[in-house]
């Protein structure tokens, strides 16, 4: 499987993501530069975490208008998988590839900590190898993960089974205490209508090696590999 990790000015999880895709999961992974215009050679595009353009104005806003985003859109239109992690998710929202927007966390602070996520849909290339209701332990690291969407949009997400991850407790239950940022409906990740574009706030690339404290992130990569093989 060939993957590209897009580097925007200010991306800072690009190297971590490339490391996991290439050295841990064994994909054929390369960087793509924000000013590039083609992603024709790859199967998977990952928009990594970080602070593209310093998170100035609105997080992800300026990156969403970069030249590479036309290629990302084309890639998505072709039905091929796109994964946005953290800032990558925010960029997908700003680019209109996913619905809704991000607000500042309800604590108004950056939060870096381990969270538990429940897999709400296995019908995406990022979760196909997981089981429904499976609880994954993955870290978050963001100041703007407070997902919002209007009531109609939320109804669509529900009706179309497009909520991919929710914040839950270790035992898989939802409660205000396990929502780290105030996101509506405890949403941690969603997909587009075609189901090939997934955005998630937590960082699977930080939880793919045992010595870093957990390997649950592998579920995402294994799903992508399985989806590509299928």
């Amino acid at each position: 499987m060939k993957a590209a990790v897009v580097v925007f000015p200010g991306s800072n999880c690009d190297a971590d993501t490339l490391h996991v895709l290439g050295n841990v999961v064994g994909m054929n992974a390369r960087y793509a530069w924000h000013a590039d215009t083609s992603l024709d050679d790859v199967d998977l595009v990952v928009l990594p975490g970080g602070f593209s353009h310093g998170d100035y104005l609105r997080t992800g806003a300026m990156a969403a208008r970069a030249p590479i985003m036309s290629a990302v859109r084309e890639h998505a239109d072709g039905g091929r998988p796109v994964l946005g992690i953290c800032n990558g998710f925010q960029i997908l929202l700003e680019a209109g590839l996913l619905p809704g927007a991000m607000l500042l966390n309800d604590s108004t602070q950056f939060r870096c900590e381990w969270t538990h996520l429940r897999v709400e849909s296995t019908d995406t290339p990022c979760t196909s190898a997981a089981s429904n209701g499976q609880v994954l332990r993955l870290p978050i690291a963001h100041a703007e993960g407070n997902y919002v969407i209007d009531p109609d949009g939320l109804a669509h997400l529900h009706d179309q089974d497009r909520v991919v991850f929710r914040y839950v407790s270790a035992s898989g239950n939802r409660s205000p205490k396990t929502n780290p940022n105030g996101a509506i409906d405890d949403i941690a990740g969603i997909c587009n209508q075609r189901r090939n574009v997934v955005g998630m706030m937590p960082h699977p690339e930080r939880a793919s090696e045992a010595e870093l404290g957990g390997e649950d992130g592998r579920a995402i990569w294994e799903s992508l590999l399985a989806a590509a093989g299928a």
Partner: protein
């Protein structure tokens, strides 16, 4: 304005502005054989400030041991020191203060402190892999105290998180001694191959100087001199700068890329205190050359800036690059790729002079040697009288706690004991995908990818101990930081430090500085950990009161095999718990004495022979894989250390028969150096005891891991009750709410 025109002797006010004494002015004029013009005066003042010239501290600093086979670059040679960690790799590290700017604008002051220390690391060609922050705040029941504390933490988080460098450790202490003058010390650690280490020397006549990054503005003029006079609140408000971590991230990537992809870069130097002045002068000093700067080529953010302002601006996020003659364009291309502006602003000369030229007119002409060699001062070291007043405590006058459990919970809630998580969860401590032991343990541990190695890093420094006995405080800062590193199994290799003290012109502060350095030197020799870099922050006072003398030490250790490491949390029900080490717990200078009795007094002690032995023992036990946990027993004493290991592991303590040595409160809450709380499976007990005997380290059984209560002598409380008290203490204090219980 030219260097040759005649001048009036400067007014007192002018001299104050450039932080020169009249004697220094005359000394400078004698060296020059003419009076310096105003631009030159500003340059001399900046370079001779404490911040750049170390005029009061240099003679004392030379007492610190700085040699060892592991040292690749020692203190003062480059922007940061470098240590060999094996496998052809080096760690580059340094700590720096941003105390005064943070007192005025906490968020931006602290943020730009992080920005500055990061640049010191990547100018060496190293990729920053970790940040640590050592913080001292005034009382949090005071609104301004909370404003400063929250602003400072927010600023550190903002800058470090945006840069993508994990903040993996640090310290927080709260005391009235820091009211009005908080301490913000930021440390950065970088990784590099030996062969890639880059110098900040401007060598090779005709080579070109490129200024890259932010445009130069009026901000920060006199930051260095501001850091060298007391009372941050008083004036100098205009020096506050707004940081741009985004631009710094671009600078970082561009600098590392340009070093990788061309050999046209001969030197890199960041612009810190006194901006273009010290960066160009220090580069030339290292190269044994001169530099000519053409100020009209410096891109400005404000119109109408004078040569004085351009030379002394401390605008953030700028770097000076020395490029091989004729190859500037190649270098500039990489910066352009990263969206950064750059200009060729000067060249290396053989004159040995700093020549500042503005539109063809000389604006300043000064010998480099005179600027890099600030006059130094020494004073007699006289023991101040206060030390007699804070001397021995009289235990008879102190009642023992009526309810030990209550006293314990009160201690756990103290902002100096309770969990630091409300702070470090605001820091991205995982980015980089190397953080193996995250903040919350004794030292942070990072893996070094593609090697079996790990590095352990901790900062420590106890102002209260140093106030009570500067020698012991200095020694303890080294000992405790090394002990924290040893508790992970890592071998302490070298340290960096920041000396936060009051005015050296005050005899008490000078005594504290001198004795603390002696203590640090003694401990560093004993532990064989040389200093490789550091920073001095003097004149930390407000309203005429000096802070507690606060040496902060950042210690680096190496794990030859990352797999043989240890954490602070208990891991298994039924494990035995013991205390290693000869230290005898005493209430002197303890947090308990302060929380329960409102006293800061006593005579803290340290025995360096015991210290070396206990650290060696714990490392040997970890490497032999005998231990389940190891945790330094420090602030809050044994009961606190046991609780911390219990909270971290989610397992209780069964130690109802804890042997009481001396008074109950001494046993439970007394502090001492050189003690480590360990746990191990019963099967390992004989081997642990044998190893301790071989190294003559006392080992005292405490009890067992297990259950869901903390039973420590007479203390008996459910974990589920004690844990929230500990985990919310600092959080509530920062939010302005009274502690629970």
């Amino acid at each position: 304005m030219t260097a040759t025109s005649a001048h009036q002797p400067p007014s007192d006010e002018t001299l104050r502005e450039v932080a020169l004494t009249r004697d220094e002015y005359h000394f400078a004029a004698d060296l020059l054989d003419r009076p310096p013009n105003p631009v030159e005066l500003g340059i001399i003042g900046g370079m001779w400030s404490e911040h750049c010239g170390y005029k009061h501290s240099r003679p004392l600093l030379s007492r610190l041991p700085s040699e060892g086979p592991q040292v690749l670059i020692g203190p003062g040679e480059e922007n940061a020191g470098a240590v060999d960690i094996g496998h052809g790799l080096a760690i580059v590290m340094k700590v720096e203060s941003h105390n005064h700017p943070s007192a005025v604008e906490p968020f931006q002051g602290a943020a730009t402190g992080v920005g500055g220390i990061l640049r010191d690391i990547f100018t060496m060609g190293a990729r920053p892999i970790a940040l640590l922050d050592s913080l001292r705040f005034g009382p949090l029941d005071d609104r301004r105290g909370r404003y400063l504390a929250n602003g400072i933490v927010g600023g550190i988080a903002w800058y470090g998180n945006c840069m993508g460098v994990p903040t993996v450790g640090g310290e927080v202490y709260v005391s009235g001694a820091y009211r009005g003058n908080p301490l913000v010390n930021a440390m950065c650690v970088g990784l590099i191959e030996h062969s890639q280490l880059t110098s900040a020397a401007a060598s090779g006549v005709g080579n070109e100087l490129i200024l890259v990054g932010a445009d130069t503005g009026r901000d920060g003029i006199h930051g260095a001199t501001f850091a060298s006079v007391d009372d941050p609140e008083a004036s100098h408000r205009g020096v506050v700068q707004v940081g741009n971590p985004f631009m710094e991230k671009l600078l970082l990537e561009a600098c590392l890329e340009v070093l990788q992809t061309t050999d046209a870069v001969l030197g890199l130097q960041d612009l810190g205190a006194t901006g273009l002045t010290s960066s160009s002068v220090e580069s030339a000093g290292r190269g044994g050359t001169g530099v000519a700067l053409h100020l009209e080529h410096v891109a400005r953010r404000a119109s109408g800036m004078t040569p004085y302002e351009v030379m002394l601006s401390e605008s953030q996020e700028r770097m000076l690059v020395v490029a091989a003659r004729g190859r500037a364009a190649e270098v500039q291309e990489v910066f352009t790729k990263w969206g950064l502006h750059s200009d060729v602003i000067g060249e290396v000369t053989e004159s040995g002079l700093l020549e500042v030229i503005d539109n063809g007119q000389p604006a300043a002409t000064l010998p480099i040697g005179m600027l890099t060699d600030a006059p130094t001062y020494t004073y007699p070291v006289e023991r101040p009288a206060y030390l007699d007043e804070v001397g021995p405590i009289h235990l008879d006058a102190l009642p023992e706690p009526e309810d030990p459990t209550d006293a314990f919970l009160q201690l756990l809630a103290s902002p100096n004991i309770s969990s630091r998580r409300p702070i470090y969860r605001q820091y991205d401590h995982m980015v980089g995908a190397n953080t193996v032991i995250a903040p919350g343990g004794d030292a942070a541990v990072l893996r070094i990818k593609d090697t079996p190695l790990g590095v352990a890093i901790a900062t420590d420094g106890n102002g209260r101990t140093t106030y009570l006995d500067p020698f012991v405080g200095g020694a303890a800062a080294i000992a405790e930081s090394a002990r924290n590193v040893s508790c992970t199994g890592a071998r302490p290799l070298a340290f960096t430090n920041c000396l936060n003290f009051g005015s050296p012109e005050q005899p008490a502060a000078y005594y504290q500085l001198s004795r603390a350095i002696d203590g640090m030197a003694a401990a560093a020799r004993a532990l064989e950990t040389p200093v490789i870099s550091g920073n001095v922050s003097l004149y930390n006072e407000s309203g005429g009161e000096a802070i507690w003398p606060t040496p902060v030490v950042g210690m680096l250790g190496v794990l030859d095999e990352l797999d043989r490491r240890c954490g602070a949390g208990f891991t298994a029900e039924g494990d035995e718990i013991a205390v290693l080490g000869a230290g005898r717990p005493r209430l002197d200078g303890s947090e308990y004495l302060s929380v329960a009795h409102g006293r800061v007094s006593g005579c803290p002690e340290i025995n360096l022979v015991d210290e070396v032995a206990v650290q060696r023992l714990v490392r040997e036990l970890i490497v032999a894989r005998l231990l389940s946990s190891a945790h330094d027993c420090s602030d809050g004493g044994l009961a606190t250390a046991l609780a911390e290991s219990a909270f971290a592991g989610g397992l209780g303590v069964r130690a109802p028969d804890l042997p009481i040595l001396g008074r109950l409160d001494e046993t439970l809450f007394g502090e001492s150096q050189s003690r480590i709380v360990v746990s191990y499976p019963p099967l390992a007990a004989a081997a642990v005891a044998a190893a301790a005997a071989t190294l003559s380290v006392p080992i005292r059984p405490v009890g067992k891991v297990g259950g869901d209560r903390l039973c420590i002598g007479p203390i008996d409380v459910p974990l589920a009750q004690a844990e929230p008290v500990w985990s919310q203490g600092l959080e509530l204090a920062l939010a302005g709410h009274a502690p629970p219980g």
